[in-house]
């Protein structure tokens, strides 16, 4: 704000900031209000707080339905992430390596799991896999979750590869490294941040997925979001707030990791190789 600003400019300046502050508040407030409720003594999910208690965390970590849901989420999301990361990274390398006809069409098909309505993915995979007897299985759930995570890996890895200097691979090859050594020793370390952030997106996609799980998973594959979905619908208790708080802490960790990686990638792109 320059000193020579007129009154109208000043008013506009502050009004604009107030508006933006309100939008930020709108974004962040709902996430903050649920945290205190998880420490509340009462059994209803309402303010005002009646007293401090850790009983809802006890329930979350001890009640079999919550521990099973947590366990399932910890099985499914990493599984989906590994598949999405591996296949997505290979494909991204293939996509940036050469030009071929229908490349952009192919690209949009590979990204389409991100935009196809999730209910359609859920219903179609349910109707497709049920006659084969593949529903109620971890592997099917992991596979479909991986398909949902693939677009994120493709997008981030392709973006990172665009900044990748191909001469480095050529140099490695001319020094006698075979393509696989070149990939693991030269390419992968340089695009690692992109691969990891794509993986984080894929992980978050699976970790937060409820609709496909609703259709495909049996009672033994109930994941954390699925358990919360049932809870919100039927029996809203502060245990949900406890689960939510844990998930929020989790997303903060993921977000900070991602920011760290982004910073690293930025440095990589701008720094001069020694």
């Amino acid at each position: 704000m320059p000193v020579y600003a007129t009154l109208i400019e000043r008013i506009w300046f502050y009004a604009f900031r107030v508006l933006c502050g309100a939008v930020l508040l709108f974004l962040i407030l709902p996430i903050l209000v649920i945290i205190p409720l998880s420490f509340n003594e009462g059994s209803l999910l309402v303010y005002p707080l009646t007293g401090f208690s850790l009983q809802w965390y006890r329930e979350f970590f001890l009640a079999p339905e919550w521990t099973m849901a947590l366990k399932n989420s910890i099985i499914v999301a990493p599984g989906a992430t590994v598949i999405a990361m591996t296949l997505g990274t290979l494909a991204s390398i293939g996509l940036t390596r050469a030009d071929f006809p229908f490349k952009s069409t192919l690209m949009s098909i590979l990204i389409s799991p991100m935009v196809v309505p999730i209910v359609i993915v859920g219903v179609s995979s349910y109707l497709f896999f049920a006659p084969l007897g593949w529903t109620n299985s971890y592997l099917t759930l992991i596979a479909v979750h991986a398909a949902l995570g693939v677009p994120f890996v493709i997008i981030t890895v392709s973006a990172t590869l665009q900044g990748y200097n191909k001469n480095l691979s050529r140099a490695a090859a001319s020094l006698g490294a075979d393509p696989i050594t070149t990939f693991f020793k030269v390419t992968l370390p340089l695009i690692a941040s992109g691969v990891t952030s794509g993986g984080l997106f894929a992980f978050a996609t699976s970790f937060d997925e409820v609709v496909v799980t609703l259709f495909l998973a049996g009672p033994e594959q109930t994941t954390l979001p699925r358990q919360m979905f049932g809870g919100i619908r039927e029996n809203i208790s502060p245990a949900i707030a406890a689960a939510a708080t844990i998930l929020i802490v989790f997303s903060v960790v993921m977000l900070l990791t991602l920011e760290y990686l982004r910073g690293k990638a930025e440095k990589l792109r701008t720094s001069v190789p020694e």
Binding site: G133, G230, E234
Partner: protein, 346 residues
């Protein structure tokens, strides 16, 4: 680079997936909430203790789709499911449930007649009744006519989001005697009449889907009156919500049954489990934990008067009650549910 071809690996991964469906412990699926809590105390825990077998238990909201998909795929991993009677009969007709071997379960004569059928064993009698919050409502409603009277009793109403029961209640509110409800509903004009009556109340309705919702809505004041499962209201009273009350006039009762999913790999254990839950001493514990009536006539005598008076099977509560017409809902259920859903979405 060829060594990076993932196809065989993916194919192998996918081929592995049916392996995860190996034979396992008995899986019992029931409606959740307070009903399941009572089942845990009365059936699941004692069953595990006396037989030493494990149980996998989970809940659902009565959707037949999962059962149908399992049976069609011949990949059944639910063994015993709790179903309402129209679904039981329809599922039996469509071959979704196993025909039961009653010799393994017990003497048919020990059960109330509605609990006995080819594919199912009724294990409790429950009722959908009018419930209200006396702390938030001025005056005492006496029946479904008052439920529709938003002038005399202002405030929101809760109803189950579905045609079953809702149409019957609408007709009773419109002055149809309980005994004539299904006669009227069997005609196109009668169905139109029920929907017309529902139109009047539509702006004041908050729909519920799970049995745990009505007591929550009533306690929080979101609605002042609601249709509700009597057991859920009784449990809420026990938990301290003393102001929740039930009006028994015009309640509709039904039996919930166990059925064995066709193609279950644990048929023997399933029969044993059902027989276990049919024993009078176990049904007694169930009724003590949630106010639903036992189907084993021997269990009725074992309950003390205070518990018995809260059950749908108590003579005073049966006086103005209506038994669900199973055949009507078997024939018309799907069509009316679709029409209802279309109506509700408008």
């Amino acid at each position: 680079m060829k060594r990076f071809d993932m196809k065989p690996l993916v194919a192998a991964l996918i081929c592995l997936s049916p392996l995860s469906a190996f034979a396992k412990d008995l899986t019992v699926i029931s409606f959740g909430g307070a009903n399941k809590d009572a089942q845990v105390k009365a059936f699941y825990e004692p069953y595990k203790k006396t037989t030493g077998n494990k149980l996998i238990t989970s809940e659902y909201n009565g959707e037949m789709a999962k059962i149908k998909a399992m049976v069609k795929a011949r990949n059944v991993d639910w063994d015993v499911v709790e179903v309402e009677t129209p679904e039981l009969i329809r599922g039996c007709e469509e071959g979704l449930f196993e025909k039961l071997d009653w010799s393994k379960i017990g003497n048919k004569k020990d059960f109330v007649p509605a609990a006995v059928s080819n594919c199912g064993v009724g294990f409790f009698v429950w009722s959908t009744a009018l419930a209200y919050n006396s702390a938030k409502l001025k005056g005492t409603p006496t029946g479904w006519k008052d439920f529709w009277d938003v002038k005399k009793f202002p405030g929101k109403r809760g109803l189950r989001k579905g045609a079953k029961y809702t149409l019957e209640f609408a007709l009773m509110a419109d002055g149809v005697k309980p005994g004539d409800v299904y006669k009227v509903l069997a005609t196109k004009a009668g169905v139109d009449r029920a929907f017309k009556k529902l139109d009047q109340l539509k702006p004041h309705i908050q729909w519920w889907e799970a049995g745990a919702q009505p007591p929550q809505f009533l306690a929080s004041g979101d609605v002042v009156m609601s249709s509700a499962y009597n057991g859920r209201i009784a449990n809420a009273q026990k938990d301290g919500n003393k102001s929740l009350k039930i009006v028994w006039t015009g309640n509709i009762y039904d039996v919930d049954s166990w059925a064995i999913v066709k193609g279950s790999k644990n048929k023997d254990a399933a029969h044993k489990f059902i027989a276990f839950t049919s024993k009078p001493e176990n049904q007694k514990v169930y009724s003590q934990n949630i106010a639903y009536g036992p189907t084993n006539t021997k269990a009725i005598g074992m309950l003390d008067a205070k518990v018995a008076s809260q059950l749908p099977t108590a003579p005073a509560n049966l006086k103005d009650a209506l038994a669900i017409n199973v055949q009507f809902w078997v024939d018309n259920g799907e069509e009316l549910e679709q029409r209802f859903n279309a109506w509700a979405a408008k």
